[in-house]
Assembly symmetry: C2
Homo-oligomer: 456 residues x 2
């Protein structure tokens, strides 16, 4: 007896619109604030950095926003992505639960990031932008924007955190393959970078510094804009294509999730799988449990404060209300680089405050153990970030086993780990340890949160 | 106007049988010879190394051999694999040709190798084999057999050429993730390995030595068999699932290939895409041109001699009639490690002698240039091996442009390059050079081919 493993959609079933959860929120999202005036931002304040079409998406209250045909035409290179039933993992766990996973590692960059890189490059192109700058840590996002730029004729410059630039030259080679320029940050190419290097010539860099460098270039050059790979409303919205496809695929499987699991760093892959389901619940439909899994060493949702904070360490970026560990908090150097951010997407934070999702945190070694169990059963080696979602899903499946319940679990496997085998190597050699942040540093970072007037 | 990018098959369309080209050969394949007696081998001679079901497949003259349901059930994890129309590459080349590519990088190992690793592990399991040994160079094949072993409860030991073991630890980490043991070869675990190390303690290893070590373990342990990732008839047959799927997908696209291109090292991915089409031609159907692309630094089909030769350097393996550069020939260290073999699959060689396929050779820098052009147009970064097929397909497309012909080109993109970015890095930094073998060494290796009695 054979049973279905993959649920595939036709290209004609590729979603025609993104889902904007702002249309269904019971309470509107607190607005972002200007870093200088601490007053709510207007679209004009963002115009030096982003094209107007993306600024409009950022604040739109429309439920559906059309995906332009040229964007869909690129997404078709790998989308619709497959939904898998994890028969072998279920058997290995001995659980009565049904486990499904949406696999985003089929994209050319190996992760979910191109889902937003493609539309961001497209909308910039339509408004005549010739150059884009961005930052990247481990390189997933920089790779994705490089790919998008190559397709829409936009020059892409990526400021990569120096320590990653030196340690992970292969990601840089992928960016160069797509024709992008990759610069170690801090660099001599910006005022801010030069000031950092003047104070400390061997500075290893940080995401905060790299953001500031990318923003500076965009803000001071008319033909250049800036792109961000997570956190912002429009970025999360671009990722909802994942959840919209998953809804169609769950119908094909004649199942509906009781619980949905995703890993959270900035929040975009999690939002992608979860928001369409949350929105359906807000409109009176089924309400699956929604579980965000974050690294215990950088636990913004479970240990952070819901407050206005800066998005970058140099305080050049707008303030948003979010779960934050404080913009001066330095996450330990664990391997899931994509989850090492002091804050959380404002939309994800808002939903948490509204009681519409749960959050939980795990340390990296238990997440790698989960990833290895998954690889041995299902074949795919997950990225370290995705291992957090795998761990969360396995914990739910084991709960179902204890409780004798055959619930349906859906999780987002947001990327493969082929670029991250050094981390697995450390795991197998016993050299991987669980990082713990400094409680005193966290307390200090939280005490240092900016005091802002509550907007009217 | 949108146009179809991917041609996807349902799981129910996964082929139910492999295609065995031996059934359609106008002249039978010369038999393998025993390395001791130089007489044709019988099935019993192979029994210490392979399970009887695979030995039967090796010599079978049946046109179709059923794929067992448990094998199909695993293949469904990533198969049927997609066929793509390369619209963007066509546009970038300005060619009237229609370019299609079958993409095998969607497998968990990132290449076509699991197509045969899974059935090999399965047939061993059904005959009670508990342990498998094999060799690997860069690691694609070792990874694939490790994955297959994890699914069928077989312990896998991989002898990896020491220079690769040291230089490419990430592939080893993938093997360990799947639960396999990976040993640097030459090792102290075999008589042959110990003898090599006694003569030269710092020996960097070679595929030939690693084969001998793996074979020695299998030949001297009752519960252990040996597995090979290319060259043998049954291995090539397992890969025909690729071409059989491609035939269904070309029909979906309402096109039929005028020319089919694949890269050749041992010959298995090439055979996979080409044999079903060649067979159709042999049975009176359409006869597309078939082009094998090999590295100019290891040109067995274009510069080798069609003769009986040993499969390994230690001369423990059977002799087969094939295009060979001589078993003492040492290919230069170019990056397409999967194509660095002194011989060619006997079936591919036989078809070449029968005039049923063409062969051409390219140097690696021109292949990397082709791979970069492909990545910028189509998104996928090809493996260095696959770049040879990309180069061959682009050359055909440019010929079509010159001749004003809108031919249909189909090629096999046998794997992604995410594990091979060091090679791209060398390419971008200008450090990649074209390797040239030593003409005197080739002449000597060819002069040293064994003299064998022509079989009756």
């Amino acid at each position: 007896m054979s049973h279905q493993t993959k649920y595939l959609l036709e290209e004609s079933q590729l979603p025609k619109a993104w889902y904007n959860i702002q249309a269904d929120l019971p309470k509107p999202l607190p607005p972002p604030l200007h870093p200088g005036t601490m007053q709510p931002l207007g679209p004009a304040d963002l115009a030096p950095l982003f094209p107007m079409s993306l600024i409009q998406q950022e604040v739109s209250q429309e439920r559906e926003i059309e995906i332009p045909e040229p964007v869909r035409d690129v997404l078709r290179l790998w989308r619709p992505s497959p939904l898998f039933r994890a028969h072998r993992l279920e058997k290995a766990l001995g659980t009565p639960a049904k486990i499904f996973y949406k696999y985003e590692g089929v994209s050319p960059a190996g992760s979910h990031k191109p889902n937003t890189a493609i539309p961001q490059a497209f909308f910039n192109m339509t408004e005549g932008v010739k150059k884009l700058t961005t930052e990247t840590g481990a390189g997933q996002w920089g790779t994705s924007l490089a790919f998008a730029g190559s397709l829409f004729g936009i020059d892409v410059t990526v400021f990569q955190v120096r320590v990653s630039y030196d340690q992970k030259p292969y990601r840089r080679a992928v960016m160069e393959t797509y024709g992008a320029r990759c610069i170690a940050s801090p660099s001599m190419e910006t005022n801010y970078g030069r000031s950092v290097l003047a104070a400390r010539p061997d500075h290893p860099g940080s995401l905060g510094i790299a953001i500031s460098e990318a923003v500076e270039i965009a803000a001071t050059n008319d033909d250049t804009k800036y792109a961000l790979g997570s956190v912002l409303n429009h970025v999360l919205m671009h990722q909802t294509i994942t959840g919209i496809e998953a809804m169609q695929q769950m119908q094909m499987a004649d199942c509906w999730p009781d619980v949905i699991v995703g890993c959270t760093g900035g929040g975009s892959n999690f939002a992608g799988i979860a928001f369409p389901f949350i929105g359906q619940g807000l409109r009176g439909g089924a309400k699956p449990r929604i579980v965000a899994v974050e690294p215990a060493a950088c636990p913004s949702l479970t240990r952070g404060k819901y407050a206005y904070d800066f998005g970058d360490t140099a305080h050049m970026a707008p303030l948003t209300k979010m779960h934050t560990l404080g913009s001066t908090f330095t996450p330990p150097g664990f391997h899931a680089g994509g989850l090492r951010y002091h804050g959380m997407a404002p939309l994800v934070s808002h939903l948490k405050e509204l009681g519409l999702l749960e959050a939980t945190a795990y340390h990296q070694t238990e997440c790698f153990a989960a990833g290895v169990a998954f690889a041995r059963a299902e074949g795919i080696v997950p990225a370290p970030e995705a291992n957090h979602a795998v761990k969360g899903a396995i914990e739910e499946a084991l709960r179902c086993k204890r409780e004798g319940r055959s619930e349906v679990i859906l999780f987002n496997l947001c990327g493969h780990g082929h670029f991250d085998m050094a981390a697995y190597q450390a795991y197998f050699s016993g050299q991987l340890r669980d990082d713990h942040y400094d409680e005193a540093e966290l307390a200090m970072a939280l005490a240092g949160l900016p005091s802002v007037p509550e907007p009217a």
